[in-house]
Symmetry: C2
Subunit: 391 residues, 2 copies
Amino acid sequence: MVNEKIEQALKILKEKDVDMWLTFTRETASTPDPTLELILGTHVVWPSAFILTRSGRKTAIVGSLDAQNIRDHADYEVIGYVDSVKEPLLEILEKEDPKRIALNFSTNDTMADGMTHGMYLILEEYLKGTGYENRLESSEALVAALRGRKSPAEIERIRKAIMETLRIFDEVTQFVKTGHSEQDVQAYIRERMEERGLTAAWDPEQCPAVFTGPESAGAHAGPTKRKIEPGHIMNVDFGVRVEGYVSDLQRTWYFLRPGEAEAPQAVQKGFQTIRDAIRAAAGALKPGVPGWEVDHVARQYILDAGYGEYPHALGHQVGRMAHDGSGLLCPKWDRYKNLPYSKVEAGQVFTLEPRLTVEGHGVATIEEIAVVTETGCEFLSDTQESLILIG
Amino acid sequence: MVNEKIEQALKILKEKDVDMWLTFTRETASTPDPTLELILGTHVVWPSAFILTRSGRKTAIVGSLDAQNIRDHADYEVIGYVDSVKEPLLEILEKEDPKRIALNFSTNDTMADGMTHGMYLILEEYLKGTGYENRLESSEALVAALRGRKSPAEIERIRKAIMETLRIFDEVTQFVKTGHSEQDVQAYIRERMEERGLTAAWDPEQCPAVFTGPESAGAHAGPTKRKIEPGHIMNVDFGVRVEGYVSDLQRTWYFLRPGEAEAPQAVQKGFQTIRDAIRAAAGALKPGVPGWEVDHVARQYILDAGYGEYPHALGHQVGRMAHDGSGLLCPKWDRYKNLPYSKVEAGQVFTLEPRLTVEGHGVATIEEIAVVTETGCEFLSDTQESLILIG
């Protein structure tokens, strides 16, 4: 998989007309660069430079103790040093004389922003007076293409992670009842994961995240001792990692009150609004459309139905990480930088996850996953079409 | 533990005469700041500012969806935002008007270099024209003190991780014989870890690392199919994580050839040289001594005995990470930046791990762990005093 992505990176360099892609990093166990997962698949300890060029060069300059491990993991020409990465790096720069050097930093995209500021200062010092310091630019367009355009093999792994997740959601439906706490549901899901040797797609404290009732936390929070009561909406945000690739899905349950045969109108309307907002957004998701337009379709749908707008993006990419960076389906808010303007491409895999609050009951939210095709998109997840009723 | 470290951080601000400690970060699941393990203990998604001041202020400005999770983990005044971290951050800067602002970047110390370059550019843009952009400095001295000075509770956790590791080394001695491959030894250790629910102290591909014979890889490499033969030196580099703290130890075994009752003189001399170099270095390890001096003692001892010098530092700190950053016992090489000059402090926990090659047999190396006391140091590990003989 790593060598396949390296070859893809070389093609992207040509397409984007960039001469050199330099990933400059160190101690990646504690300060990882997300791109190294794609183009290396292991860690380095000492300051290291991974160099890919338009001319097809693949060179890794690494500490001598790291050299063998790099050779074992990926198809680089490996240069091991003892004293400093500087001299071999300058030598290659002089030899290749790149006009455009894409470096591993980005204000916009976390996945392209793996270089620490300290490493930037070190590189700046190395390059002072060489002229190359003026040829540096962000590698965000390269990273977005490399990370975003999934190969069929990558999509297959995501699909497997989705299937495992949906299976556990079905088991939750069999298990859950009023009186259980959010933590009980979490514990049940953890047992199913352990049985199957599955690991969480993100921080295990919040994966699964479980929210029940009108008082539940917004999102990004761990399950509490809060108990599920009749009349509650419960939702679970959960994903697993399979062969290095993850899922990220949400489902919504409703707990019937005595005498109820279905959810109250308000809960049904809330759920259906979310479901249909996702349908509408999926209709707009296709190559060439800027991310904010897809977000806008769902956001406006929910506003038109009389609800407040969700305080986050409609969807993010999924891949090796649950938040796989680059293009985002998000509003034009400051914190999203230039991401709303990035155009959707075929091969990208997105979540669609609007939310709204149903007063007195809880939060209605569904999260589906879709892959962008040449002409539109296809859901990778079996979509949730109706509330799951318990009780 | 987190709130204890936050209080320690407030004291260090006073000691170092710094007004504000700003940790500026985002998406810490993919680009973590190592300091957040100490002062937060969970992840954030949106751009976030963790602010500690000399006046005792503890404020976290985080995305609204992250707010509850932060409240659940640490004792901060939490400000949740929807649009941008900028306004609340500027408001606090204006109110506190800090003269010295320590920021989470460092050219010298990875553990203090958690801010990405993209995040630095964003902050620079926020601060442009406020005057605060000229008051920024590296937080490396603060991080070194906070991470380095372990509390008794932290040392106790490291000690537990050491005990588990030494126990597994003893089991390896019972298990291992010629004909086993490096990967067989790795598999055996993994089984013992799994039995006890222990996780690896670093990248599981290389933890344990196993090296046998004269052709073995240098270090930082995963075990191979290479088989242990009579006359081989084998060493294992291994550590486990217990309650968030790790060990990092190495031991050396020798495999007797037919007719041998002990290791050949050359192997014995190599082993004893390493053992005694560690003893000599431990004698020099005490508060106030710059790290390079301690390294120099062991390095010179090995050179004087007629061996080549080891191509790495004598020792690094151990704590939440196997490479716990800040002060290092290392030579004055470019790649170590200013770390050789950093002075040893009481409460720091160091490895001591010189190595040398015994031609035709393999690499002799021991790694012990010692805590610095007010007057010297104490080993936390039972030291290896003689070669472990097998066969």
